[in-house]
Symmetry: C2
């Protein structure tokens, strides 16, 4: 149903990235994700469905629970896409730190149209 073509669109959603990060640590049931992320169960299930249909996760049934675990392929695709760009920063590694520091400093509200 939901178009949602590329792997990039899937991980554009912050909650889905959170789910993936948790699953990177260890596999989880829906309820565990629900508690750790403090989000409604229906929301978790919906995101898991999207992730599952896009191949990011798979589930196995365990009694009444469904335990989800990570599948690496789609993220490998993203990683592969980055390849041609890496030459831009492999030279000077500390640029990221400076960038992240700036992000940190900014008042978290990009709401207003800032110049440049």
């Amino acid at each position: 149903m939901t178009r949602m073509e590329s792997s990039f669109a899937i991980i554009a959603e912050p909650n889905r990235r959170s789910i993936l990060s948790l699953l990177a640590a260890s596999e989880c049931s829906v309820g565990e994700l629900e508690r750790q992320l403090r989000m409604p169960q229906t929301s978790v299930s919906k995101h898991l469905r999207v992730l599952r249909e896009a191949g990011f996760v798979e589930s196995r049934v365990e009694a009444q629970r469904r335990v989800y675990r990570l599948r690496p392929e789609p993220l490998m695709e993203v990683d592969a896409w980055l390849t041609p760009f890496r030459r831009f920063w492999t030279a000077h590694v500390d640029a990221l730190e400076r960038h992240l520091d700036r992000m940190d400093a900014t008042p978290e509200t990009p709401t207003k149209g800032k110049k440049r």
Copy 2:
């Protein structure tokens, strides 16, 4: 104007990824991008604006043209986010090839509805 919080949301757009890929090869003017991507100029300009405000590109003025070039920081962020996941595939590298081969073969339908 456009919220567009994360770097992930920016590269969720296929046309923007195309622009970035072209700029990874070499800096380009708007017109060059327009021709290579075969998309309307207003569209290119709008995507460039989004990319610029998100720090993915910067432009310099050259006569009547604006030449855009890549800035690496936001993509470095994405690369950094991938770090915890790499352990899932650094062991067996060929899984990506198999995955991409499948993508190639399938007629645009995601992982087929397994319908239990």
